[in-house]
Symmetry: C2
Amino acid sequence: MNKKIDTAPYKGVRDFYPKAMHLEKYLFSTMRTVAERFGYVEYSASPLEPAELYRAKSGEEIVNDQTYTFIDRGDREVTLRPEMTPTVARMVAGQKRELGFPLRWYSIPNLFRYENPQRGRLREHYQLNVDIFGVQGLEAEYEIISLASNLMTEFGATPTDFSILVNSRKVMNDLFQNLEVSSGNQHTLSKLIDKKAKVDSANFKASIEKVLGEKTECFIEALSSSKSLIDLLGPENENIKNLMNLLAMLSRGGLSNVVFSPTLMRGFDYYTEIVFEIFDTNPDNKRSLFGGGRYDNLTELFSSDMVPAVGFGMGDVTLADFLESHGLIPEYSSEVRLTLASVSEENMESVLALAQELRTSGVNVATDTSNRSVGDKIKNTLKLGIPFFVAVGEDEITNNIFKLKNLALSEERTVTKEELVKFV
Amino acid sequence: MNKKIDTAPYKGVRDFYPKAMHLEKYLFSTMRTVAERFGYVEYSASPLEPAELYRAKSGEEIVNDQTYTFIDRGDREVTLRPEMTPTVARMVAGQKRELGFPLRWYSIPNLFRYENPQRGRLREHYQLNVDIFGVQGLEAEYEIISLASNLMTEFGATPTDFSILVNSRKVMNDLFQNLEVSSGNQHTLSKLIDKKAKVDSANFKASIEKVLGEKTECFIEALSSSKSLIDLLGPENENIKNLMNLLAMLSRGGLSNVVFSPTLMRGFDYYTEIVFEIFDTNPDNKRSLFGGGRYDNLTELFSSDMVPAVGFGMGDVTLADFLESHGLIPEYSSEVRLTLASVSEENMESVLALAQELRTSGVNVATDTSNRSVGDKIKNTLKLGIPFFVAVGEDEITNNIFKLKNLALSEERTVTKEELVKFV
């Protein structure tokens, strides 16, 4: 008992004290409201998954170096899920015959990555995942992007606060084919494009040159704007046409901040065509907030049935940073509205009985029947963020007259029990 | 891509498909409502905790054999939390000066135990944890037990469906002292009493005899009823008096199903005095549903400050079993109220626009704009558990007249868009 244990949480994860938890609950409830409005229902799963779920599509290296993976005592290799998409594909494949399509699902799982914690990158974070299954047409992308945009505005962002960048993996493949890039080099170039924003243009050009040689100018020109890319591939290119159709639908649907961005790649290999990203337009903080896309092949890990899918993931840490930098974090207020304090030890039970009575009227009531002074009880109520306070003696109960303090406004008013329920 | 991956989840954990998730959400929201009514606010923490958090109070053996513990690449020993109480004690100790007392906190964490899955015992389950800190008096036990009882009735149980068993660790210590039991044997006897319900009385007696010899009769007699125990220790015993005061308070507070039960021990070693348990009185299913007690010493793991605490944990698996056996599980209904289906490919966008309009009126709307038949779209809507369905053509939109199908009742009524919002 002599050596004391540190009260810090495990490295890179968060403790949610009530104020932090209140913000998380606000984020989650807003996510739920918007997802359900678009017809999505919630599912969930354990953070423990068989490691093979990630090996197949992510490769040995990612599983070994970037995930928490260990062997259990039944010799099973277990991974703490680093992303939700393989899990949702597993669940959909598992009950494909029982489920109705189009299937709209969302979840808010915690995800684990084994990396060095830094701003916006923790070892555990929460991520809203929204996915629609069974829709081959563009209405799936239209809906998912509309929903993502709706989420941003529901959180208080205006359409000028963010851009919606859109691109097509198939268009990029056509560009590669047009320039006769070998498939090995396609992967290298994709990764270079994905990191373009992080290097200056001279360095970007130099690294492209190593792969493409004399085709470099043409490649960089094609990526420089959607117009250049369309000029190169021609407006009759099927994949360009599909992408332009989506942009037109989104525009008719009222989204004014959508941009065809040829350098948008998104990290995951499983995307098959349209990818998109919500991008913070704040000049001091230009960066990707979240994104997603179409992944039509993921259920083939589990069965020969293909289920078309479009979805995205929105992380809580990046979202909270965005809301904070835009002044959109709501103020904390406790779910508990009132402290009933006893004035002496003798009236403890009458305070407890009154609290119980108020609870049946729907008021969230805390009590303080300690032998501390009323002044100390007020201080503690303030520390707890509870807005109202009443000191209760036998007189108050007998006469049904209570002095209700509003601690935030330093106001006091005299009320009956019935009025108290209304005010609080 | 040839070898397919199994769609089953990891051994002993659950996938929450939307219907199962709907039940979990019902359990959690009822827990939140009742906890907040009593003045409790929600906190949370990561399931990853330093292993030393459990070693100190639970011992090497439990950490090694009954928890998921592994070494991370920074050579830290990490445990997936098997219970929440050490975490909440860590968090309270960590910000003791900033927090206001009495402090009322609740959380609904998932907990991990490495054991063979069986009915009611999974490798991962959720558990409501409710704890009050900083109250030395019996009003803490009174409140926590009242809250536990209120939870049961909020879920639809009647007071005859369950008993509230109460005992005192201090009374048990007095019994041991009265019989001059050595401290080593006290621990052995406690474990035997804890398992009493699982063995027949002859076996119980035999195992007690091995420890107590000629004192066995007296010991078993003392445990046979509260009256016998009070007779032995005397009604003036301070710890008996404290326990009887609590029983009297609970009785005055309207709880009719509280029983002083000398054989109630509860598993955790950290309880210091009052322990209690909610017990299913169903003759086919007599068993402990959940329980808790006072633990005044746990924050001393982290600092020399002692913080008195009373709390309990209520698991989701046992609770759902109880509700199911009492017919108290609510029926599933989807949060999504309506499917809007297109009748042809041409009117896809007008369906999407109408859906968006209804959403701004607060209706949760799914769309089906596939080229399947309307009959197939109705079947899928039924599979999804969505109660209402409208097939939308251009005529419907032009004339503002829609045929609204209530699929559960096989009813159809003709409504305008505005009436539709009201009905759904």
